[in-house]
């Protein structure tokens, strides 16, 4: 039973650690525009390619 008393706080600490990360990301505006970045991801490759070929 002692192992439960030790693991439970760790598990909860871990959970709240992730919650903290999530809150930090949403406060930072990571979820403000959910649509555009998904498309932009495809375009970044193109830009990188251009930059490399210019070098």
């Amino acid at each position: 039973m002692n192992i439960v008393s030790a693991l439970l706080p760790i598990a909860i600490l871990l959970a709240f650690g992730f919650l903290g990360a999530f809150v930090w990301a949403s406060r930072g505006g990571q979820y403000d525009d959910l649509e555009t970045p998904a498309h932009k991801m495809l375009l970044d490759d193109v830009n990188d390619h251009e930059r490399n070929s210019r070098k």
């Binding site: 959970a15 959910l34 193109v46």
Partner: protein, 814 residues
């Protein structure tokens, strides 16, 4: 750089729309094909700047919205740099003097558009960075301190993205952002707590007892505290506000279940009893919060009404400055009565006024009367704000501006009407209201009855089980889901719907009132038919006709030039004209290529005539060589769209301000009976026709039909500017014509069927659960399994229900 992509010759290289018969003139085997001059211009700009990648990206990407041909407005946008204007509408400058501005861009439709807009810093000087929110079509530009806004706006316009300045409300925008982030935090907290409580619940259900059991129950209680006091706050607020207005919303039983469930579970934890409900309660909170957040985001992305209010009609005027004795461009809101302004050909009058130009001109009153044929005006005639100058540039002396103008008055009336419109409660609320009250009452009854037979413990358990199991969470999740799926699909097809209510109302519509000009027809003069007399044909005839008509400002001449322009657009080919003559109202003549050409109005001929059209004859050296028919062309999609509307069991009725012969002709082509086609209706008469009628849909343009649109049960604007339309109509369709609307009607019916099916599913589950709870067969484990299961069924039902919609919209977007 890569070569520009060439697509199939049956589609416009720029916008990808199918080429119509009119535009097939432009096709030759080698060069790319375009549907209009606008698309061609953009193509030329892009290829000259080495931005041909646009077409490559476009080829590979998925469409976000339905594309449409480029329409360049050719505004100079000089008013944007007016300091007075900037003070009102621009965001405050950043510390180092740079400025930021937000623009709503019309015509953004795919990833390639995103790429192009963000390339703006390379295209025009002064732009430091450009970011596009593709979901809302809003671009945020950062400008250098000395940047001029006008050339930037003009460049966007030339690329086919007509910019609209958004009156920036920093506070509202910041508030919205903050609210969204708070929602997310609430969801995050609820998810963390619910997940961990469920983890504790597993050993408890498996029979953990003694020290471990107690520990898990206490930890569950601790984790439930933030769920109750932080995550559930929105439910408390909305339940409280609904109780204050003496109505019962879905949040009332939710709050009751959460609060009482929480209290009873907490008491049981303290007493060491097994009956705790933290797992179901926290999962309920998490699921409800998530579904509402999704709905919220989708509504915001479909350009919420809060944004529309901030829309500013882009308008400026050239005012005659008496001191400098020259014309100066000023923003429209600075105009006063007695100012003299000049309005160019093709421009909209910014105010009511008297014509001050001695010769007079031509004015299209289509906005006010719906009549497509331009009316001649003489000196001292009154012209109205919102109508279009189709003749020579006119100087007018202003008599009224802003809301005092005739169109301003119409808009004011329209806004009043939309304010008095009854607020219809949410679909979910209405459908579930009666049983929500039932749940609360029966839970109390159950408690009393069971208490008198057994005891307080069992009574509390059963009453609570009833409350939890009947809590319409499946319903609360599924209805927003079905609605939001439909709303977002509509937004992608270029349909802006103000509220989910409008979608619900659409599904109950029985009658469809249609405006004629601009809705069923193109709303402008066009060449409908060009018939040469074959034995007299000469390759230079059309070029000569083009050259002659180019000299005239008459609307008919402009239609002819538009039609012929494609063949003779290279300026090098423009032939010399001698002894040019224009007889007002009759036609033009002159000598070109050594022949005397003339274009004159032909008298109406029997067997050949149609009241819709005007006939022009092309003469060479006195003999008729071609017969040209001009008129307001019927949209190609009107007939199939109307058939579709009829097949849905709806009755179309035409309301028009145009004269009877024209309206009857259009109605007969659309197979609408004469007594269902009303002509010569003023905007006020149109309002009377639709006002007070239940289940009718009014379709018209956002300006002259504004009053009727706002008075109707539900209304859609298919023409006119976005900002004007959405002030009065419930729905704005960005692509002109009624075919998209026919799809929308189908979709609304499909959505409502899905919602009704969901209601039946969840009622069935709730009934089953309620019976179980009343007779005491319901234990926490069973309730916990039943709840997500019912939610899942309804979720799947929403998905299946919309697969049919997906088909409809894949037709639309491809």
């Amino acid at each position: 750089m890569t070569d520009l992509a060439t697509t199939s010759q049956n589609f416009c290289t720029h916008c990808g729309n199918a080429l119509t018969a009119e535009s097939t003139l432009r096709i030759d085997a080698v060069s790319p094909a375009f549907c209009c001059a606008g698309c061609e211009t953009v193509y030329a700009i892009l290829s000259s700047r080495g931005l041909g990648r646009y077409y490559e990206i476009k080829e590979a990407c998925e469409l976000i919205r339905k594309p449409r041909p480029v329409r360049v407005s050719h505004e100079s946008f000089a008013y944007l740099d007016d300091p007075e204007f900037q003070k009102l509408y621009l965001m405050p400058s950043l510390e180092d003097g740079r400025k930021t501005v937000e623009l709503y861009l019309e015509g953004v439709h795919c990833v390639a558009c995103l790429w192009l807009v963000e390339k703006l810093p390379e295209l025009v000087s002064g732009v430091e960075s450009a970011q596009l929110d593709i979901g809302r079509s809003i671009a945020r530009l950062t400008l250098t301190p000395d940047a001029k806004l006008a050339p930037i706006a003009a460049e966007l316009d030339r690329l086919g993205y007509r910019p609209h300045i958004i009156r920036h409300d920093e506070e509202a925008a910041a508030l919205l952002k903050r609210e969204n982030r708070t929602w997310l935090t609430r969801i995050g907290v609820a998810a963390t707590c619910a997940g961990n409580i469920m983890l504790m619940a597993v050993p408890l259900y498996a029979g953990a007892d003694g020290y471990a059991g107690q520990l898990f129950r206490w930890v569950s209680l601790a984790l439930f505290v933030p769920t109750l006091f932080y995550s559930s706050v929105p439910f408390f607020r909305s339940a409280w506000s609904s109780l204050r207005t003496r109505s019962i919303s879905i949040d009332v039983p939710i709050v009751l279940a959460i609060v009482f469930g929480g209290i009873i579970s907490a008491i049981n934890v303290v007493r060491g009893s097994e009956h705790i409900y933290f797992d179901s309660l926290s999962a309920l909170v998490f699921l409800l919060l998530s579904s509402r957040y999704v709905l919220r985001r989708i509504q915001q992305s479909a350009l919420g009404s809060s944004h529309l209010l901030n829309f500013l009609a882009p308008s400026r005027a050239r005012r005659f400055d008496p001191e400098l004795r020259e014309l100066k461009e000023v923003p429209v809101h600075t105009l006063k009565a007695d100012d003299v302004i000049e309005v160019q050909t093709g421009e909209i009058f910014p105010a009511d006024g008297l014509v001050a130009t001695p010769g007079g001109g031509f004015v299209s009153n289509a906005l006010l009367t719906g009549e497509a044929v331009p009316t001649p005006v003489r000196e001292d005639d009154l012209v109205y704000s919102g109508t279009e100058n189709q003749g020579e540039p006119l100087q007018i002396k202003i008599t009224a501006t802003g809301l005092q103008t005739r169109i301003g008055e119409i808009l004011r009336q329209a806004e009043e009407a939309s304010r008095t419109k009854a607020r219809i409660v949410d679909v979910t609320d209405r459908a579930s209201r009666w049983f929500l009250a039932g749940v609360v009452i029966s839970a109390i009854l159950l408690f009393v009855v069971v208490y008198s037979y057994t005891g307080v413990d069992e009574a509390l358990n059963r009453a609570l089980a009833l409350m939890i199991v009947t809590c319409p969470c499946a319903l609360a999740l599924a209805t927003p889901l079905a609605l939001s799926i439909s709303l977002s699909r509509a937004a992608r097809a270029g349909i802006l719907i103000k509220s989910a209510n409008a979608l619900e109302k659409l599904s109950t519509v029985k009658t469809v009132f249609l405006d004629k000009t601009g809705t069923l027809t193109e709303g402008r003069f066009d060449v409908l038919d060009w018939r040469d007399i074959p034995e007299l044909r000469n390759p230079n005839d059309r070029l000569a006709a083009w050259a002659l008509e180019r000299q005239s400002r008459h609307p008919i001449a402009k239609a002819l030039v538009r039609h012929l322009g494609s063949e003779a657009r290279k300026p090098a080919l423009c032939p010399e004209i001698s002894d040019f003559q224009e007889t007002l109202g009759l036609g033009v003549s002159g000598t070109v290529f050594g022949h005397h050409y003339g274009l004159k109005t032909l008298p109406q001929r029997d067997g050949f005539s149609s009241p819709l059209a005007t006939y022009i004859g092309l003469y060479r050296d006195g003999s008729l060589i071609a017969c040209i028919t001009l008129g307001d062309r019927m949209r190609s999609d009107s007939v199939p769209a109307l058939n579709r509307i009829r097949s849905l069991g709806l009755e179309p009725i035409v309301l028009s301000g145009d004269n009877q012969t024209v309206v009857n002709e259009v109605a007969s082509r659309l197979a609408i009976a004469k007594e269902r086609a009303f002509s010569e209706f003023s905007p006020e008469q149109k309002r009377e026709a639709v006002a007070g009628r239940k289940d009718c849909l009014m379709v018209g343009d956002g300006a002259n039909d504004a009053v009727a649109l706002s008075a109707a049960y539900v209304s859609a604007a298919v023409h006119g500017s976005v900002e004007l339309s959405l002030r009065t109509a419930d729905i704005y369709v960005a692509s002109p014509g009624v075919s998209t609307l026919a799809h929308l009607l189908e979709m609304s019916k499909e959505t409502m069927r899905t919602i009704h099916r969901n209601l039946i599913f969840s009622l069935f589950y709730n009934l089953l659960g309620a019976i179980g709870a009343i007779f005491g067969w319901m234990n926490p484990l069973f309730a916990a399994i039943l709840m997500p299961l019912s939610a899942l069924t309804v979720f799947l039902s929403s998905k299946w229900g919309t697969s049919a919609l997906r088909q409809v919209f894949s037709e639309l977007t491809t």
